[in-house]
């Protein structure tokens, strides 16, 4: 009899323990203090992670907008690029929500994963953008500096997002899916016009995607951190 009672008690205790631990874990995730960047085994609160992510995405979008405007002003005037900008961005294949309702309806884990995919997709293009802009004759410093900054911030945002995903979905680790960018040859074309159009396109896509990510993250922040009570 005692054994059965013990086992029953153990059986009932175990889920209780799990529940308690879960609760504790959840609370702990939400309220752990900020730890310095680069520290190993450090738990930063989700709110702080989202705050930082939103700041980064906001910043990246500002930079890419400025960079695009600068490029448009310098090189694309009178070339009619905008009419040709059908925008075959390499990230278009990723089925990202296209408006607010869709973004609100999608599950936030999926949305997080999408964000990660988009960010990963831009690692390569940004790297090549920097090198190619450097190689441009009379490389404008404003564009080049911004490209370098965006590349670095993008990497940091990716790390931050991975941390967020690790906290929101611990244990779930999808394959690193991303869109492959194949626009490098077009950036290196000999024809000036075509090359400039390739740059224009790339910068246009960058501005668009940074805006997308910024909006998604803000929505997510409101949903996850503030529980839709922003």
């Amino acid at each position: 009899m005692d054994d059965k009672g013990w086992s029953v008690k153990a059986g009932s205790l175990l889920p209780l323990l799990l529940l308690v631990s879960d609760l504790l874990l959840c609370q702990g995730v939400a309220s752990l203090p900020i730890c310095p960047t680069g520290a190993v085994n450090c738990q930063v609160s989700l709110r702080d992670l989202f705050d930082r992510a939103v700041i980064l995405s906001h910043y990246i979008h500002n930079l890419s907008s400025e960079m695009f405007n600068e490029f448009d002003r310098r090189y694309a005037q009178g070339r009619g690029f905008i009419t040709k900008a059908i925008n075959s961005c390499h990230t278009s294949s990723l089925s990202t929500p296209e408006d607010k309702e869709q973004a609100q309806q999608i599950h936030h884990e999926d949305l997080l994963n999408l964000i990660l995919r988009v960010l990963r997709s831009w690692n390569d293009p940004l790297y090549h953008l920097v090198t190619e802009v450097r190689g441009m004759e009379e490389a404008p410093d404003s564009i080049l500096s911004r490209a370098i900054e965006i590349e670095e911030q993008n990497r940091r945002l990716l790390e931050g997002m991975e941390k967020i995903v690790g906290q929101v979905h611990p244990g779930v680790r999808e394959n690193e899916v991303y869109s492959v960018w194949s626009g490098l040859p077009s950036l290196q074309m000999a024809d000036e016009d075509s090359r400039l159009f390739a740059f224009y396109n790339l910068l246009h896509c960058l501005r668009r995607d940074s805006h997308k990510i910024d909006n998604y993250l803000k929505l997510l922040k409101c949903r996850i951190v503030y529980d839709s009570n922003c």
Binding site: I82, I86, S95, E98, K100, K218, L219
Partner: protein
């Protein structure tokens, strides 16, 4: 069939259209007609021959706009010339690219109405962000305009609402104030969830002005406006735009800001005459001028401000009077001051200037004053004679000769170097005289008394020991000099010039004896030693007894020395004594006996040629002691005349 409510013009258009349609589709019959008519009516409704008519004749897109990133609408102009052209069938078709492929079909505008005339409204179901759209405008089947865009690029938010302001603070002067303006974002923009990020620009102006002042864009919904004047009224308006976009939305309604009136005690900001500044600068300028004045005319101001301390004046004696040289007056004045006399005119200066012959004679041979005197011109000698009008009226005791010879009275006995020479010898002569007198008169009392002035001179003055020693030194010095009569001319004696001969040579009074090779006062070394042994060097006083000792020997020497005066023709100096001696030699026997004969204490002055050149008679004459004493050795001409027979 007929369109409802058309105007007369429209009616004609309808009829025309029908006629054309009818003509065009005569075969089709009546079925087509309603459709055409329906389209015509629709186009009629759309047609609006208003001021916005495009004069170019072609429909064009004016703008496409999304206010909140959830819907958008496009507007175009109707380029139809009123009346003639077919107004109908302007259509908008759109196509959007999704999943990397364009949909083949152009779709028509879902809503031609909601956004007003010549517009197409796409609601949120038709709106996809970050998806490129292309729209085209067709009129009668033909594309007239085409445009491609993304929705996030055409965002132009609605104006903010709910503007209000609050007073932040008022400046201390009561002239300016700061206010805080608040507003709400446009209601259709979902800023709260972060779907759209807006930034705002505030503009304000005074009511009277025409130019709006702009502030920098802000992301918040409130902004302070600083430094508004309290006596003015302002208007404020706000507009918004999506962050990182370029186009602003419409302005909000202007907010009227009426600030509270100034308190009546507030200071006015009107331009007032800066009295305070003027006063300050005026004082500063005056101070500068005063300082300049003070420092430029220093002496005069100094005299005014700080009068000099008066030099102590001696009562009763006017220095100018002494300078003037009325000897009678001076003498009377001097007579008043009995006690001060010896010190008064017996200045130390002329005694001081007696040079001592202690030094090597070789030194003195070079550029001595005597040489200079010798080498000087006639005029210069005259100048020397007539020179020097020193301030204090020092008179010498023995200068009646000089007076007679038109010299300035105060000259000769002055403490000048040229004159000082004879002083020394004068001292010698005094000594000599003293010796003579004492030698001749048994009563040495009177003699010294008569000579007392001189002896007193010798006694009382401090430099007298110098004088005496000077005489002794001259005795000593003269000794080698005696051996060399030719060098006598180079002897740097201070000789008093008594006269100038017509020949141009200077007549010296005291130096005669020395020039002549005689130093009657220069007793031979034996005498010197004798005198020296008895003299107390430290004592300034020369006692009679001591003098007598010297005197006893001296006359002998004097007689000897005088016996053969060698009048050196080469000498420029011709002293009276030498003259007299020469004269004596030539024929005048007065001097010789006088020189050989011992001179009594009181003797009459036979010849007064120079202060030294007193040739005394052998006979003693009663001399008015008082006069002599009173004049302290200074004998005026009148007195001399009295004395002399």
């Amino acid at each position: 069939m007929r369109a409802a409510g058309p105007t007369g013009m429209d009616l004609w258009q309808v009829l025309l259209t029908l006629a054309v349609a009818g003509s065009g589709n005569a075969v089709s019959g009546s079925e087509a007609t309603p459709a055409i008519l329906g389209r015509a009516s629709q186009s009629l409704q759309r047609v609006n021959p208003g001021p916005g008519t495009n004069s170019s004749g072609k429909p064009k897109f004016t703008k496409c706009r999304s206010p909140e990133l959830e819907t958008f609408s496009c507007h175009w102009t109707d380029g139809v010339n009123h009346g003639l052209k077919n107004p109908g069938s302007i259509q908008l078709f759109y196509i959007r690219r999704s999943t990397q492929e364009w949909t083949q079909e152009w779709k028509e505008c879902p809503d031609y109405v909601s956004a007003g005339e010549n517009s197409c409204y796409f609601n949120s179901s038709y709106t996809s962000i970050w998806i490129p759209y292309c729209i085209k405008l067709t009129s009668s089947g033909g594309t007239v305009d085409q445009k491609c865009f993304s929705v996030e690029e055409i965002v132009q938010p609605d104006p903010p609402i709910g503007l209000n302001w609050t007073l932040l603070n008022v400046s201390l002067t009561g002239i300016h104030a700061d206010i805080q303006v608040r507003w709400e974002p446009p209601p259709n923009a979902d800023v709260r969830k972060g779907w759209i990020v807006l930034e705002y620009e505030l503009q304000y102006k005074e009511i009277n002005e025409s130019q709006w002042k702009m502030m920098d864009p802000v992301l918040s919904t409130s902004v302070p406006v600083y430094s508004l004047r309290l006596d003015k009224e302002y208007e404020v308006r706000v507009r918004s735009r999506q962050r990182n976009s370029e186009k602003y939305g419409e302005f909000s309604e202007a907010l009227y800001v009426a600030l509270p009136q100034m308190s009546p005690f507030a200071c006015e900001e009107d331009f007032q005459f800066p009295w305070f500044l003027i006063i300050i600068f005026g004082i500063f300028g005056l101070t500068m001028i005063l300082f300049l004045f003070i420092f430029s005319k220093q002496q005069r101001i100094k005299m005014l401000i700080l009068p000099p301390v008066p030099v102590p004046k001696i009562k009763g004696i006017d220095p100018d009077l002494l300078k003037e040289g009325k000897l009678e007056e001076v003498n009377t004045i001097l007579a008043i001051h009995d006690n001060y006399k010896p010190e008064f005119y017996n200045d130390d200066s002329w005694v001081e200037f007696i040079e001592l012959d202690i030094d090597d004679p070789e030194e003195k041979t070079e550029g001595s004053d005597t040489v200079r005197l010798l080498n000087n011109d006639h005029e210069k000698s005259l100048n020397i004679l007539g020179a020097k009008d020193d301030d204090s009226g020092r008179t010498s005791c023995y200068e009646p000769d000089l007076l007679e010879t038109d010299f300035n009275a105060s000259d000769v006995c002055d403490s000048t170097s040229e004159v000082a020479q004879p002083q020394r010898l004068k001292g010698e002569d005094l000594l000599c005289l003293d010796q003579n007198s004492q030698n001749n008169s048994p009563s040495a009392d009177t003699a010294p008394t008569t000579q007392q002035p001189s002896v007193i001179l010798a006694k009382e003055d401090k430099p007298r020991p110098r004088l005496i020693s000077g005489t002794e030194s001259t005795h000593q010095a003269a000794h080698p000099q005696l051996s060399n009569p030719s060098s006598l001319a180079n002897i740097d004696f201070y000789a008093q010039v008594s006269d100038i001969t017509p020949a141009g040579s200077v007549v010296l009074s005291p130096g005669q004896k020395n020039k002549a090779g005689m130093s009657p006062c220069d007793s031979p070394p034996e005498v010197v030693s004798l005198c020296q042994a008895n003299f107390i060097m430290d004592s300034a006083y020369f006692s009679e007894a001591d003098a007598k000792k010297c005197i006893t020997v001296a006359p002998h020497v004097e007689a000897e020395s005088r016996a053969d005066p060698s009048f050196n023709q080469e000498d420029i100096y011709i002293t009276t004594e030498s003259l007299t001696t020469t004269a004596g030699q030539s024929g005048t026997a007065e001097q010789a006996p006088s020189s050989e004969r011992p001179v009594p204490d009181y003797t009459s002055i036979h010849i007064v040629q120079s202060p030294r050149g007193l040739v005394l008679n052998a006979t003693a004459l009663p001399l008015p002691d008082k006069e002599f004493l009173s004049s302290c050795g200074y004998v005026s001409t009148d007195q001399l005349n009295k004395i002399m027979p």
